[in-house]
């Protein structure tokens, strides 16, 4: 950031650029800049350093969430349904979650609910092997609701602690596919009342302002209860989390920081805000 001695137009434009290029989106950027200018006018910031502190504070407020981990004890089996658009990292995140839960002493079962995409079940099966957990699957092309049913049934019968259901990537604009997701959710609830206990929306840190649109649609369709943001090991900053947090108040559970089994971290809002300004 600017080495200017006082707060001037250049510094403000610089801050605006930091926010925009971190994918905060225009709505949030403009709101933040307005709040900042009010606070400057009220004499709250004497120098660039103080201004940066104010900005971080404003961002944290909009992020309005503490780290919000899952409480797996809430239900047994605890069912997690993983959803999101194509290619964001759902299947990989499930592999990482399975590994994490196993290392916490939990028994885990996976459901290969993507029966559409080529080799989707095979991909999840490999992750199951890596994490040391079983995968419930059916033939490619079968009804994903049938796999959901099987996985829920098996989870109950085997008294596992956690069942994680993978679903096919789908654009939120495809209404028939969003209906399919609702059906899967109903099947889970019917078989295990209260399931899914977590509907985890996975988002990609490289996505721009469409991330908010995705979150709105998925939230509306299947009552998303948590977010995971992947690919934060790249150069994208994932700033849209702030807009999503501000508008939908969804807790961010995890961040993905790589392609390996261990590359999952609980979301840390302070680290996230610090990284935005690196």
């Amino acid at each position: 950031l600017s080495s200017s001695q006082n707060i001037d137009e250049d510094l403000l434009e610089e801050l605006e650029e930091v926010l925009v290029t971190a994918d905060f989106g225009m709505q949030t950027t403009m709101a933040l800049m307005q709040s900042l200018e009010k606070r400057i006018a009220a004499g709250e910031a004497a120098d660039p350093q103080a201004l940066r502190g104010l900005l971080k504070d404003e961002i944290r407020q909009r992020l309005r969430l503490e780290a919000a981990p899952l409480d797996l004890e809430r239900s047994s089996p605890f069912v997690i349904m993983v959803v999101g658009v194509n290619g964001v990292g759902k299947t990989t995140t499930i592999g990482k979650l399975a590994h994490q839960f196993v290392s916490q002493g939990k028994t885990v079962l996976l459901g290969a609910g993507d029966t559409f995409r080529a080799a989707a079940a095979e991909q999840l099966t490999v992750w199951g092997e890596r994490a040391g957990v079983e995968v419930i699957r059916q033939e490619s092309g079968s009804d994903p609701a049938a796999v959901a049913f099987d996985a829920a049934k098996a989870a109950a019968a085997r008294k596992v602690d956690v069942m994680i259901l993978d679903t096919a990537g789908r654009l939120h604009t495809k209404l028939n596919l969003m209906e399919e997701l609702k059906k899967i959710r109903r099947v889970l609830d019917r078989e295990l009342p209260g399931a899914p206990h977590e509907t985890l929306l996975v988002g990609d840190a490289t996505t721009g302002q469409n991330a908010l649109v995705q979150a709105r649609f998925f939230q509306e369709a299947v009552a998303v209860s948590g977010l995971a943001l992947t690919k934060l090991d790249g150069t994208a900053r994932g700033g849209m989390l702030v807009a999503i947090g501000n508008e939908l108040g969804l807790p961010v559970r995890y961040v993905g920081i790589g392609e390996g089994l261990e590359d999952l971290r609980p979301f840390d809002p302070d680290l996230f805000v610090e990284a935005l300004f690196e």
Binding site: E17, V20, T21, A22, D23, G25, M26, V85, N86, G87, V88, G89, G95, F116, R117, A118, A119, E122, Q123, T125, V126, W127, R130, S140, L171, H172, T173, D204, T206, T207, G208, Q209, N210, A211, V213, K231, D233, G234, T235, A236, M240, E259
Partner: protein, 293 residues
């Protein structure tokens, strides 16, 4: 939308002659906002607005177009030009067979799916393509391409995950020569542009196979990071073109302008769905319209 916003800026101006500095200032603010809301990169927008402002200032307000429409026209023309209107953007396959096409890009962009779609398109053009799985890292990546090949009845080289990707591509090339395949479609693993080892792998595949086309596959919903990715891939590989995927969604697609601005390379193909026939030619004017919103 932008057209309506500019209309309101110009409400009082109809039939008044030259666009003034002040109208221009306001309209440029609206144009800048529209582009940033479309995910176009911050710096790319800065340069674009500077160019458009220069073109718009002093322009005679035509009797046939109201001032808002005049500015829109300048913006749309410049946007279309930047997107590659009138530029050649067909695939360059004019080389002694087997010609190699290498697809690369970030994780999850749609490379594997696009390879299969491309193979189908080429076969419909009476070519004889061989799909080459060169992703040995992602679980079941080779299976994925083999499954797609089977669905299309298109040959897939029998890659195994314990082989080096460069060697796999070389073996596939020899196999293609011996068996009369005229086009090699190389599906590489998703990777970060900042991963030196993996970027070097692409450099080595390029050196060995000398692909006629090196296509950067990019997701249409990519935000500001698009410039970093495109700049890096282009600098390290000298890409020949871009495939923009998932355009069947509702992302405005500003990443397309960012990528064009930093690489100057043509967007050759667009992915319009998950089905294997959902690969289309890129239309610069349609993209310009979409970005403007």
């Amino acid at each position: 939308n932008l057209s309506e916003k500019l209309d309101s800026v110009f409400k009082k101006l109809r039939g008044h002659g030259v666009l003034s500095e002040d109208n221009i200032k306001q309209t440029m603010r609206e144009v800048r906002l529209a582009l940033l809301e479309a995910d176009v990169n911050f710096r790319v927008v800065k340069e674009f607005v500077a160019t458009v402002r220069e073109r718009a200032v002093g322009k005679e307000v035509l009797k046939s177009l109201n001032p808002a429409q005049q500015v829109i026209k300048v913006v749309r023309d410049e946007l279309g030009r930047l997107m590659g209107e009138g530029e050649e953007n067909s695939l360059d396959l004019a080389a002694r067979p087997p010609v190699a096409i290498m697809l690369c890009g970030l994780q999850g962009a749609g490379k594997t799916t696009s390879c299969a779609k491309l193979a189908l398109q080429l076969r419909r053009q009476k070519r004889n393509p061989l799909l080459v799985p060169a992703d040995i890292y992602r679980p079941a990546a080779i299976d994925q391409l083999k499954t797609l090949g089977k669905q299309l009845d298109i040959a897939v080289f029998d890659s195994q995950p314990d082989r080096d990707p460069v060697l796999l591509c070389e073996e596939a090339h020899r196999y293609a020569e011996l068996n009369g395949y005229d086009t090699l479609i190389l599906d590489t693993a998703g990777r970060l542009h900042i991963d030196e080892q993996l970027m070097d792998e692409l450099v080595r595949i390029k050196a060995s196979l000398q692909p006629r086309e090196i296509l950067l596959v990019a997701d249409a919903m990519t935000g500001q990071d698009a410039v970093n990715v495109a700049e890096s891939f282009n600098a390290q590989l000298e890409i020949s073109g871009v495939v923009l995927t998932k355009l069947d969604g509702d992302a405005r697609g500003g990443a397309a302008l960012s990528i064009r601005a930093v690489t100057g390379k043509p967007i050759k193909l667009v992915g319009m769905g998950e089905k294997l026939d959902a690969l289309e030619v890129f239309h610069p004017d349609r993209m310009a319209q979409r970005i403007l919103g």
